[in-house]
Amino acid sequence: MEVNPAKQEHLLALKVMRLTKPTLFTNIPVTCEEKDLPGDLFNQLMRDDPSTVNGAEILMLGEMLTLPQNFGNIFLGETFSSYISVHNDSNQVVKDILVKADLQTSSQRLNLSASNAAVAELKPDCCIDDVIHHEVKEIGTHILVCAVSYTTQGGEKMYFRKFFKFQVLKPLDVKTKFYNAETDEVFLEAQIQNITTSPMFMEKVSLEPSIMYNVAELNSVNQAGECVTTFGSRAYLQPMDTRQYLYCLKPKKEFAEKAGIIKGVTVIGKLDIVWKTNLGERGRLQTSQLQRMAPGYGDVRLSLEAIPDTVNLEEPFHITCKITNCSSERTMDLVLEMCNTSSIHWCGISGRQLGKLHPSSSLCLALTLLSSVQGLQSVSGLRLTDTFLKRTYEYDDIAQVCVVSLAIKVES
């Protein structure tokens, strides 16, 4: 068998050009002054040059659009646009031309042609033009397969294909980090890095929360009634620059109450990123669902609802605790014990019954205590015992209060 089949002249020629956005021509301004040797010559030359800005010739950035000079890079989330031109190079009329453009990725094959209808005839020196657009959704090798079939004047059916291969690169690097607040709030820090080679304007970076959460974006501050971004005047990311976004997620009420639901691995939501580069070339990406491991609270969770920040020495104060049964289906019968520490003294009866607590329900408990030591004191020493399983849960270091002496306060 021959390796190279008999060379065949095709009557049609297929040309493909990627249409990235055009660029603005930049010129090299060289000026002189009236008294210099060339007089006004240099300046006149610049004025005559159409690529300079009329009336301000020293500006480098002109207004002349230049077509792309090479294939360039294409990044995930951007739109691949291409001009496909089929030209009749011959001197005969060609019939029944069908041009088809497919994009082959590692996982699928897409038809990009605007129409799949055959063109009845193409006269010599005429073109069939098509501009295809495709939002790139996969990374890695892509092959644009262009196939042309036609019938010659002699009735011969002809067919040829061309393949154009390109790589789709990753434009962004996204890293996330979660912080669990003492309340049910979750803070999300997201670092977005521009790993392309051109500056990138971040048009939108938003967190789309899952149904359980409401989100507050913490990336702008209110300055004199105006929302100002925390990123300052630098609205774009240079290559390899990283920007950090912060979000606060609050569980919606219906989910917050049923605290048992938010445990283990929960879906927080996903980041939606829209950017623009040269002359508004747009790209958009989303992260996968961000997941977080909710802090484990065991079967019984004790959280604080209210506590004063500063209390007086040896004076009773009140705190409100919330006790939640986080187990999935077990009803608990709880007994509360309060153990004094060296600084914290509980007031009231230790060992009292709290009654039955059903799964995913909670009860609030007002407790009174006083501190005998000044300074920052840790509230510790609560014990809950589930009488069914004879299991005791210990709660130390629940919160801290600042204990001050009343006498000193008066003096100052």
């Binding site: 660029t23 480098m60 002349m64 077509l67 360039g72 094959r109 033009d129 580069t277």
Partner: protein, 790 residues
């Protein structure tokens, strides 16, 4: 499944003659009979093989060559003929992917395709046009180095991520896999990429440890929002081939990896071509008529020849000591000169005699501390000897003496034959008067190369010719003007390295022998710098074109500091150099105006430089501050800032600036403001991807100003993006024919030739026609790269 379908449809093809599995000839017979659709679906497995073994590694390299073309991803005109090679390669990939249907046949095909490959690599390289070759060599290189490294890095990460993120991905992965698994040319298992989501794994930095984030951050996968789960089973991470971003101009693109093509276009005249030119015989043969040329100002004649009493270095060079004695003749001198350098002790009569107001204004400069001391001692110790270190003197000389050449003519010789080339007549250095007049003539008819040569001749006559660098010499206002013109033209021609070489002996343009005070006999009473201000700007700007924008910025800051100081002096009622001044109010006004405009000029250069450095925030600030110096240019400056934001992608801010322009231009009379507004609107439409409306705006400009080359060119570009190639060509062709004097601009011609390439396989003839048009209109400075003929 696609693969099954593909296999079925391949049946007829297989029954055809075995000659060309890839070509259309083979399957034609059966298709006609059965009336089957001409197209068949097949899945090309992209991830399965490729980097698997040594062989396929090469295969991928070669595969890439015909594919990765520059602007056109298409094949070159003649390439389509012998496209069998690349088609074969791909077919190979295709069929491996198709899998099970017919192993036996496929294995045959594969072997053959492989056999063919060894030839293809070379032949393709030859066939593709040169510019393409540049591009591909680039991508080839990066492809070669990448796969091994990444293989190693990727595996751990994909397991990590796969487990965490990819539910559906795992299930899907095998779908792509099995086909290649059946291929006889199967990669060894260890090389086989794990068919899991490498897409989303990030490449860990050089350390290549799997991403256990030490900082607590966790990498997230990103995907296109509208993409279904299918993506998650994907191929390997692509080699991070960082190619220049095409869409980005010099400012916005990537300078480090800029493709040779782009730089070819812009920095077309590679310096190496000319540096080597040296003609040792050239310098002595100066026409007689030249000898008097260098001396125009009064009293300069004696300087033209190397009069030992004036040239500060003769004695030193003989004795070999590193200090030069400036011997000043013992003749009596006018009293005024002695005092001339002293601040505040000017003799008004002497000043009136020797130094016009205008000269003082223009030449004023503040020398550095050391230079200032030398200048003072020159004037005070004129009866003794002043020692100036050799290092402190300026000893320039031509570094290459002949850059004459006409690229247009060379191309004509190559493509149109001698006869046509003979018609090309441009002025050269011999065909004009050997004087400033001839020089201006050459410059204005755009024969800059010839003008550079003529400058060289005139400088040779002045004793600063080829090989004279490092030899003692003296300077006159005219010799420095000649240097300025020569260096400026070199920069305009893009011969930056050459300019840098010849600029080098001038140091920082602050040596004492560059000041008038250094030559009290030649320029009695005259003060200030001989270096034209524009030459200082050129000196500073040159560095940014050589890739040292930081140095440019430093130099510009120094120039700006002097300008500001001089302005402060003027505002305090002093002379430019800080001396007590007794000039008239209107003279001071004129001086303030001059120095303000110089300050504006240098600020604008700084803005340009910052733009080159891609520091857009500072660049925008600098452009805004230029407005105060050139208020009449406010709309242009604001438009420019708007375009900068457009280029970054910040469409909203761009729009804000364009609105400001509309407000400012409302006050203006005439068409210019209207054109500016329309131009900005068009750009905004471009930024919103709305080529149709952009085209409408450009067309509206043409209604007002039919000769507007920018609007014409830009409208044509829009037409191309709208899929109207023929219309676009018509528009550009009409424009270049109607106004060839202005419209044979390299940018427009580049667009035109690019479209010719896209239109037809016969672009060469059309480019040659353009060459003829250029030959009749353009001088020797024409950048032939934009014709893409070479």
């Amino acid at each position: 499944m696609e693969s099954a379908e593909g296999a079925k449809q391949h049946a007829p093809e297989r029954s055809g003659p075995a000659a060309g599995p890839a070509q259309s000839t083979a399957p034609r017979g059966p298709r006609e009979d059965q009336g089957r659709p001409l197209y068949h679906e097949e899945t090309i497995d992209l991830g399965g093989d490729g980097f698997g073994s040594e062989d396929s590694n090469n295969l991928v390299d070669k595969l890439d060559e015909p594919m990765m073309e520059s602007v056109l991803i298409s094949d070159s005109p003649n390439n389509s003929d012998d496209g069998a090679g690349d088609l074969g390669c791909l077919q190979d990939v295709v069929e491996t992917a198709e899998g099970g249907a017919d192993h036996r046949r496929e294995s045959v095909v594969d072997e053959e395709a492989l056999g063919a490959l060894s030839d293809d690599g070379e032949s393709d390289g030859e066939d593709t046009p040169k510019d393409v070759a540049d591009m591909t060599s680039d991508s080839r290189a990066s492809l070669k180095e990448d796969p091994e490294q990444e293989e190693v890095k990727d595996l751990p990460t994909c397991e990590h991520e796969g487990a965490e993120d990819l539910g559906p991905g795992d299930a899907r992965a095998p779908a792509a896999g099995p086909a290649s698994g059946l291929s006889p040319r199967q990669p060894s298992p260890k090389d086989e990429p794990v068919p899991m989501c490498t897409i989303f794994s990030q490449l860990p930095p050089a350390g290549s440890q799997p991403q256990v984030p030490r900082d607590g951050f966790e990498s997230q996968m990103v995907k296109s929002p509208s993409f279904s789960g299918a993506s998650e089973a994907a191929a390997r991470t692509p080699p991070q081939v960082v190619q220049p971003s095409p869409s980005l101009s010099k400012f916005f693109g990537d300078t480090t990896s800029t493709s040779s093509l782009a730089s070819d276009f812009f920095d077309s005249f590679t310096t190496s071509t000319f540096i080597s030119v040296s003609n040792p015989n050239a310098s002595p043969s100066i026409p007689e008529s030249l000898s008097s040329l260098a001396a125009t100002p009064v009293g300069e004649n004696s300087l033209g020849s190397a009069d030992p009493s004036y040239s500060p270095g003769t004695e030193r060079s003989e004795s070999g000591v590193s200090t030069a004695s400036l011997e000043i003749p013992q003749s009596p001198k006018p009293f005024s000169q002695i005092q001339a350098v002293f601040a505040g002790s000017e003799d008004p009569f002497a000043t009136a005699l020797s130094m016009s107001e205008m000269d003082r204004r223009n030449d004023a400069w503040l020398p550095g501390e050391a230079t200032r001391n030398v200048l003072i001692s020159v004037t005070t110790q004129q009866y003794s000897t002043v020692f100036v270190d050799k290092e402190g003197l300026t000893m320039p000389g031509l570094k290459f003496d002949n850059i004459q050449g006409d690229a247009v003519k060379d191309l004509m010789l190559r493509f149109l034959g001698e006869k046509a080339a003979a018609k090309r007549q441009v002025l050269n250095a011999n065909s004009v008067e050997q004087s400033f007049v001839g020089l201006k003539q050459l410059i204005s008819c755009k024969n800059w190369r010839a003008a550079v040569d003529l400058c060289g001749r005139l400088l040779t006559a002045h004793g600063q010719g080829y090989g004279k660098s490092g030899l003692p010499t003296s300077h006159t206002a005219d010799s420095l003007q000649l240097w300025f013109v020569r260096l400026a033209l070199l920069v305009k021609l893009g011969l930056f390295q050459n300019a840098e070489m010849e600029f080098e002996p001038f140091g920082n343009l602050d040596q004492p022998d560059l000041y008038y005070e250094y030559y009290p006999h030649v320029y009695p009473g005259r003060r200030g710098s001989m270096v034209p201000f524009s030459m200082r700007i050129l000196h500073a700007e040159l560095q940014q074109y050589l890739g040292n924008p930081q140095e440019s910025l430093d130099r510009l800051h120094r120039v700006k500091a002097v300008c500001s100081k001089i302005l402060t002096n003027l505002e305090q009622g002093l002379a430019e150099d800080g001396s007590i001044n007794c000039t008239a109010q209107e003279n001071r006004q004129a001086s303030v105006q001059l120095w303000r405009s110089r300050l504006g000029r240098v600020t604008c250069s700084m803005a340009n430089c910052l733009l080159l450095m891609k520091d857009y925030v500072l660049a925008v600030d600098a452009y805004r501050s230029v407005v105060q110096y050139f208020p009449e240019q406010e709309p242009q400056l604001l438009s420019c800032i708007g375009r900068i934001f457009l280029q970054i992608g910040d469409i909203k801010t761009a729009e804000k600036y364009f609105q400001d322009v509309e407000k400012v231009t409302q006050k203006l009379e005439g068409l210019q403001g209207k054109i500016m507004v329309l131009m900005n609107r068009a750009f905004l439409h471009l930024g919103q991807n709305n080529f149709a409306d952009a085209h409408r705006c450009f067309t509206e400009i043409l209604k007002i100003d039919p000769a507007n080359a920018v609007a014409n060119n830009n409208a044509a570009v829009c037409l191309l993006y709208l899929g109207r190639l023929k219309d676009s060509l018509r528009q550009l062709e009409a424009m270049t024919q109607q106004d060839p004097r202005h419209c044979l601009h390299e940018s427009a011609l580049f667009n035109l030739t690019t479209m010719y390439e896209l239109e037809s396989s016969r672009s060469l003839q059309k480019k040659q026609a353009l060459l003829e048009a250029v030959a009749s209109k353009e001088g020797d400075c024409f950048n032939t790269q934009c014709l893409k003929l070479a």
